[in-house]
Structure formats: C-alpha cells, structure tokens
C-alpha cells in the first residue's frame, strides 16, 4: 500500500432495509484529530462501527492501516492497534471502574500483571478518575461512566481511536480535560470522533467531515468550513424571506444565512454557519 493514509474507504455502502446508512462513501485520511459532524441518522455511528471492525459493510472496501477488516487475520491485527468507544457502552454496573478497565486490558492482550496495573492506572488518571477507580460503576455519574469507557478505549496506546460522541454527558470542565487527552493522543495517532457540537470541532479538530444521509458533504479544515459561508451571512432586524435559515441571536438581532440582499450587513462566518449552510443547501436540493 503506497499511501500513508491510516483509513481508506472506497465506495463504502451499508443499508438497513431501504435506508442507506452509508452511501457510496469515498474517503481517506489519518493522523491527528478528525471530527465527524452530521445530524442524527446521518450514518456516523454506522461508519464508526465499520471502522472499528465491529460491523461489516454491504459493498465497497475499507482499509485500516492497509489491512482489510473482512479478512479474519487482518481484522485481528487491526484490533491490536485500535481503541473504540461506542455510543452506548453498556458497561456492567456492578464492577468497579478498575475491575472493568482491567478486564478490557485483558481483552486487549495485556498479559503481564504489573504492566496491566500500570496501564489501568495510567488511563484512569488520563480521564481524571484516579480517586474514583475503586467505586462501583453504578455509583458513578453518567459523565464519569462515559469517562470509564473512554479510559478503556485508551488502553494500549492505540494507533487509531474511534470515538462515538465521547463528550456526551460531560460538563465543560471535563470536556476540556478530554480534549487535552485526545489532542495529546492525536499527536502520534489518529483520532476519529463523532459529535453534535460544532464548538467542539472548532476547538481541537484538525480536520472536519460532514456526513448526512450516508454521504460526505464536506471534507476540510475547520477554517475552510467557516470559509464556505463567507459573504453568505448577514445581520438584520427582521426575518428575511430570502434567507435559507434565520434565527434570533442572544443580542436580539436576526442572523441569516443564504444569499444576502444588496446593502445587507454581512458578518464574519462561524463554523456553525458553514455547517448549517452546507446541510441546509443539500436539504433544499434533494
């Protein structure tokens, strides 16, 4: 394999009944933190599960580290360098956080007891759960439970981290901490995370993908995404009929996206604006 892309997708498709969760997706990339944006039902989770070698595709090819998850031996090799955080972790609530992460460490073939103990401590410290590590999972808050699952995904220094809405249920302080950890991991590995929050993407993703109804609508940097809405955003006092989207901002003004009329007060676009523009325009077209 020539390219140094960690992930390569070619005409990837997956259907559930008559709906296409992933529709002829082509993409390649790797290294750094990549954010996956998109509305609910866009196919983000499905895509992530295929990348995590947990779900097989209907058609098309996937290559992770140049290996094919459809081949059993290669799938095993991928999993040895992979960390996955599903949307619903489904952790057994009677285990302590330590027990659970230790169990996953065994599943990740960390056989030596001392190494395993140090690894478990390391990842729990990374997510800030050192003091809580011996408490049962059912006594922990939702955000803490999410962090336990994240810790388990971080075991073994994976080269590819696939995270499905990792920050769900975390307060801003915890999100910041998580971002620090993930940025750190992104220095030498690939982090692919899905999220609803554009501000999260703006904060630390080097690359952004927008997925809607199984199709890739955008692939670029956060700045490029905001740039898509250059000269397409303006402020007004009353809702404009010609705008694609309008809403009232905190100041009381109306913010509009679309084609501004002449003389309108055009403003600097944000990431949000770019995202809304792209997803709304597609909706209008289809």
């Amino acid at each position: 394999m020539s390219g140094d892309s960690v992930i390569e997708l070619t005409s990837l498709s997956k259907r559930y009944g008559s709906t296409a969760a992933v529709d002829e997706l082509d993409w390649s990339g790797g290294r750094g933190v990549i954010g996956l944006l998109g509305p609910n039902g866009a196919g983000k989770s499905t895509l992530l599960r295929m990348l995590a070698t947990v779900l097989s595709q209907d058609s098309g090819t996937i290559r992770v580290f140049g290996l094919d998850p459809a081949v059993a031996a290669e799938r095993l090799a991928i999993r040895r360098r992979l960390g996955y955080l599903p949307q619903e972790a489904g952790l057994y609530r009677n285990f302590s956080a330590y027990d659970l992460v230790d169990y996953v460490a065994v599943l990740k073939e960390i056989t030596d007891r001392t190494t395993r103990r140090d690894e478990v401590r390391r990842v729990l410290a990374d997510v800030g759960l050192t003091d809580e590590m011996h408490r049962r999972i059912r006594t922990l808050s939702g955000g803490m439970q999410r962090r336990v699952a994240l810790a388990a995904a971080l075991l073994g220094h994976p080269d590819l981290l696939v995270l499905d809405e990792p920050a769900a249920g975390l307060d801003p302080d915890q999100r910041l901490r998580m971002r620090t950890v993930l940025s750190d991991v992104g220095q030498r590995a690939t982090v692919l995370l899905s999220t609803h929050q554009t501000d999260e993407v703006a904060a630390f993703c080097q690359r952004v993908l927008i997925l809607d109804r199984g199709r890739l609508l955008f692939d670029g940097t956060p700045r490029e995404l905001a740039g898509r809405a250059t000269d397409r955003v303006w402020i007004s006092d009353v809702p404009e009929a010609g705008a694609l989207r309008s809403w009232v901002t905190g100041d009381g003004d109306i913010r509009n996206i679309g084609t501004p009329p002449t003389g309108a007060t055009v403003v600097e676009p944000t990431l949000d604006d770019g995202y809304l523009l792209i997803t709304t325009e597609v909706g209008v077209r289809t």
């Binding site: 410290a125 050192t130 003091d131 809580e132 011996h134 006594t139």
Partner: protein, 195 residues
C-alpha cells in the same frame, strides 16, 4: 512540553495532587473510604503516616519493620473502614490498628492455642487508667517519669497504647502475668506520687 506532560502523568499516576488541600474532617475521610474513595485514603495517609511512623519507631528500632507495619495499617484502613465507630478520634483508631500491625510484623504468628487464648476480650479500662489516658504535661507526666523503666513501659503499653495484657506481654517479651503485677505496682506508685 512533553517532559512536563510526562511528569504530570506520573504524578497523576500516583494520584498525588499536591495542589488543592482536602478540607474534609478525618471522620468524613473514613466514611469516604467506606465508599471506596481512593483519594480519601491517600489524604488519611498524608495526615497520619508521619506521626504513626514516628510513634511506632519508638517501639521498634527496625526501620523496615516500621515501614511494613505502616503499609499494613493503611491497607487495613482501606479494608475495614466500615468498622470505625465514631466514639473517638480517627487517629486513635489508626493507632490501634498500627500498633497491632507492628506486633504482627515483629512477632510471627503463634500457635493456634495461643491465638485462641488471645481472643479473650481485653480488660476494660479502670477509672485510674482513664485518668492516665488524659495525660497532660505536668504532675501526672512527672509521676510517670519517676517510675522505673520496666514499670513505665508496662503503663505505656497497656494504658497509652491500648494493648491487652497478652499483647503488651508480646511487645515487651514478658509473660502476661508479669504485665498484670507490674501494672498494679505502677498504679500504686503513681497514686502515692500524686497525693
């Protein structure tokens, strides 16, 4: 930047956040330990290890044994925090565990018969003993100082350290009967010294 990260990581690994002080009381910490709060145990360690190590060192000159006893103590605190009854200060409870752990480290396990004999409940403190426990700088301390070393050690072991006669005997290397007789002599002498 990386070395700072690594240092922070290893500090975090030990769980030592020297930054923010823990404002909880000792009793609250013990309750938190029952709830498996590792940070609470660490805080108890930070607060109580120093005096415990020093006090045990007065009873045993072997530093490695003292260290082992201190380790055992805090592991025991982790395991049996639910047994703490708030009838006295946490430090006293910790001392009770600590001195017994030291005994365990210093003297290997005796035969089953001796251990069964030791199971009988320790004697309750008498009124004079309770007075001695509330020792303050002054007359009583001086009276204690005037006792001969062998009597003083017995008083320290039984009254101040809270050991039973059998345990005091093991610590001092004398039979428990001798402990009892020396105790009686010590009380008599101190009573005479105080009046």
């Amino acid at each position: 930047m990386n070395s700072v990260n690594q240092a922070t990581r290893s500090v975090a690994q030990l769980g030592m956040s020297r930054g923010c002080p823990d404002g909880r009381s000792d009793a609250e910490l013990v309750a938190a330990v029952v709830d498996r709060d590792r940070g609470a145990l660490q805080e108890l360690y930070v607060r109580h290890e120093p005096w415990l190590s020093i006090r045990l060192a007065y009873r045993c000159s072997d530093r490695s044994m003292v260290e082992e006893a201190v380790q055992d103590t805090f592991v025991a605190v982790w395991g049996s925090a639910d047994k703490f009854r708030a009838t006295g200060p946490v430090a006293a409870w910790i001392w009770g565990i600590g001195i017994r752990r030291l005994l365990h480290v210093m003297r290997p396990r005796k035969s089953l018969r001796e251990r069964l004999l030791a199971q009988r409940s320790p004697e309750l403190l008498s009124a004079e003993d309770e007075l001695l426990v509330g020792v303050e700088h002054g007359d009583v301390g001086l009276a204690l100082g005037r006792l001969s070393p062998e009597l003083r050690m017995v008083v320290q072991a039984t009254v101040l350290d809270g050991l039973s006669c059998q345990e005091a005997g093991r610590l001092l290397g004398i039979p428990s009967g001798t402990v009892k007789t020396r105790m009686m002599r010590a009380k008599r002498e101190m009573r005479e010294a105080l009046t």
